[in-house]
């Protein structure tokens, strides 16, 4: 039985980083999907697989599991971007719509469309773990993670889902994302940008207890606020602190910072405070138990 104020616990948490030894491909529903699996999809599937395994859940979650995912800015490598306009530049090096329409468009690799889909990581996680329940997918700054978290909590407390898989994935080692953070005010230094994914399995304390699951962490409280602003006229520097300081304290992990930190936290209290570039102000307190 759930109630509007059921306590929310994390029964599984997982993270992934580029270069770790995991392989997302065995989780794919069909080998055909391999060529569509981009770096942020790969990271998301790995992190989700670890969270689901840690929660002691089967690999097929079904209709009663919901998915709540935040992705960072759309990634694209320089060479892939440049390939798109190859054959479409005139003698002055300007993009020519005429040349593009005459044949330059043929250089477009359709895989790039899938790699640019902001909901692709959510698709891969849903299909790898057969998550058929409700969903919420959003992007791109860290504050949005709190909105996904809150949607997951609402779904659990309203009884729309028994399990909420909540996570974030970012691929920031590419020209498109580096360009974005060069142009923001203030900019984010390239050497601070990190790629990674973090996923949490959330349940109500009652549901976790009923199936004998141990809590990795308990959500003690959270707040979400907002600085109303026109992002085309005004921008904020991101302010993010973890207490105690952790692996995400001294670099920029985008919306993945909090779930990664929870997944990597030592037992004790973890406090997070955030002013996101999109004006979202949020805090949360987690009691990490194991």
């Amino acid at each position: 039985m759930v109630s509007p104020d059921s306590q929310i616990v994390v029964t599984g948490a997982g993270f992934s980083e580029p270069g770790d030894e995991g392989d997302a491909r065995p989780f794919l529903r069909t080998p055909k999907l391999r060529k569509l699996l981009g770096p942020w999809d790969h990271l998301a599937v790995l992190a989700a697989s670890r969270a689901i395994e840690a929660a002691g859940l089967p690999k097929s979650l079904g209709e009663r599991a919901g998915l709540y995912v935040v992705v960072g800015h759309v990634p694209a490598q320089k060479e892939n971007m440049e390939a798109l306009i190859e054959g479409s530049l005139d003698e002055n090096g300007e993009f020519s719509g005429k040349l593009h329409a005459r044949g330059g468009y043929l250089n477009f690799n359709p895989i790039w469309t899938f790699r640019s889909l902001t909901n692709a990581p959510a698709f891969f996680v849903s299909s790898c773990f057969d998550i058929q329940g409700p969903y919420f997918v959003t992007f791109s700054e860290p504050g949005q993670f709190y909105l996904a978290l809150e949607e997951g909590i609402h779904a659990l407390r309203a009884g729309r889902a028994d399990i909420a898989v909540v996570g974030a994935t970012v691929d920031q080692d590419n020209e498109m994302v580096r360009f974005h953070y060069r142009r923001t005010r203030p900019p984010v230094a390239e050497d601070l940008l990190r790629s990674g994914a973090g996923f949490l399995v959330l349940e109500t304390a009652e549901a976790a207890s009923a199936r004998g699951a141990q809590a990795h962490a308990v959500l003690k409280d959270y707040t979400i606020g907002y600085r109303t602003h026109d992002p085309l006229m005004e921008s904020f520097a991101q302010e993010e602190t973890f207490q105690p300081a952790g692996p995400c304290s001294d670099a920029f992990w985008g919306p993945a910072s909090l779930p990664i930190s929870i997944a990597r936290a030592e037992p004790g209290t973890l406090q997070h405070q955030l002013l996101s570039r999109d004006g979202i102000q949020a805090t949360s307190c987690w009691e990490v138990q194991q």
């Binding site: 899938f114 640019s116 959510a122 998550i131 949607e151 979400i224 606020g225 992002p231 005004e234």
Partner: protein, 404 residues
């Protein structure tokens, strides 16, 4: 306590109408918004047609998505205030936004040795690509919303999910009123190229209005559309107390994940069926009570038969009797904006006691054998209407609206 949620304002800037009433009239009259692409030179590309918004005003931030969203929001907000009173309490925004496409012109500029980023913040953020999630913040600032916007990126289901989430915010008592909808514009060299290379766009360039052919035997894909729609949602008791005009009551919402293919639906329409069933369960209604369905109806080879199958599984023996109309046959596919465009069509036609037609349906696909209201609108008393969006990535949303 669950609050009843009603629509008290509607705004629309769509390929065949720059306001909700014109849009409704053109849908009922069967007037298509498709035509040759004018916003860029489509030259010899396989697809040279689209359903563009006919907008000759200034572009805010030189961005069609932002401009359309602000105009639709303005209409909806003014519409909800027409009675002379304002909604109670604070509002919040929930919006579906589209895919990310960059500007090839800017990319070419970046390759020049003397390239420098513009100094002005708005121009910097617009250069190369303007992140879609900026748009909801621009709209939120315009209306002074004090809570962060909920941003949905569930592709073709994005704005339907936005309406559904906004409905839940009000129904649950968390918000007194919400502004909700979506915007998209992918009619650009790379936008058209991307979908063209996936073989999802119609190449019937000669007669654009006849190109989108949902449920037809010779359908060959959709026509890219663009535009925005926005709704004002509030509690029924608040709307009544302030004398607001009520367009309808949202009674149910459900969404689901196919967990199957990224660009192909589950072969048995499982996800689509689940979304529709969840909307019905949320509304405490039975499938027998559905009077009309506004289908997702892309006009692609894969989707239309699966959607038909899902509707049959939902409606059972009544399936042949329930009209299913395809708004995309007239306005094309607005991707993230399609859910709200079709929801506005559903509500406006419901209140006119009409079902708009599915254009160009002269020769139905034998696998698509339901009543799709071919060619001509028909009078139809609707109490409960269902509006479906089944998107890329297997994300499905279904909304139920009741006439009051």
């Amino acid at each position: 306590m669950r609050h009843r949620v009603v629509i008290t304002g509607i705004g629309a800037l769509l390929p065949n109408g720059n306001d909700p009433e014109t849009y409704r009239d053109n849908l009922i009259a069967g007037h298509s918004g498709a035509g040759p692409i004018t916003v860029f030179d489509a030259g010899d590309m396989p697809t040279r047609i689209a359903a563009e918004v006919k907008w000759d005003g200034l572009l805010v931030a030189d961005d069609r998505r932002t401009t359309f969203a602000l105009e639709a929001a303005r209409q909806a907000f003014e519409n909800a205030h027409r009675c002379g009173t304002a909604p109670h309490g604070d509002g919040r925004l929930c919006m579906g936004v589209g895919l990310e496409i960059f500007s090839p012109t800017d990319l070419a500029q970046m390759q020049r040795p003397d390239f420098e980023l513009p100094e002005v913040l708005a121009k910097r953020l617009k250069f190369l690509h303007m992140p879609g999630d900026l748009v909801p913040h621009v709209v939120s600032e315009r209306y002074g919303f004090g809570l962060p916007p909920l941003v949905m990126i569930s592709t073709c289901a994005g704005s339907a999910d936005a309406i559904g989430s906004a409905y839940r915010e009000v129904a649950s008592g968390r918000q007194r009123w919400m502004m909700s909808g979506g915007t998209d514009s992918m009619i650009s060299p790379l936008g058209i190229t991307a979908f063209s290379k996936l073989c999802t766009l119609s190449t019937k360039n000669e007669v654009p209005a006849e190109a989108p052919k949902p449920f037809s035997r010779d359908r060959d894909g959709f026509v890219m559309g663009e535009g925005a729609g926005m709704l004002m949602l509030e509690r029924l008791e608040d709307a009544k107390a302030r004398g607001a005009e009520i367009y309808g009551e949202i009674v149910g919402y459900g969404n689901s994940l196919d967990a199957f293919g990224i660009s192909e639906p589950h072969p048995e329409g499982r996800g689509a069926l689940q979304a529709m069933q969840r909307a019905l369960a949320d509304a405490c209604l039975h499938a027998d009570q559905i009077d009309v369905i506004n289908g997702h109806a892309t006009g692609t080879r894969k989707n239309d038969p699966i959607e038909t199958l899902a509707c049959k599984n939902l409606l059972g023996a009544r399936a042949p009797e329930v009209p299913i109309c395809a708004t995309k046959s007239m306005i094309g596919h607005l991707v993230a904006g399609s859910g709200v465009a079709e929801f506005v069509a559903t509500v406006m036609c419901m209140n006119a006691d009409m079902v708009h037609p599915t254009l160009n349906l002269h020769d139905p696909d034998p696998e698509c054998d339901l009543d799709y209201v071919p060619l001509v609108a028909r009078p139809h008393k609707t109490t409960i209407a269902m509006c479906n969006s089944f998107g890329f990535g297997g994300m499905n949303a279904s909304i139920l609206v009741r006439k009051l």
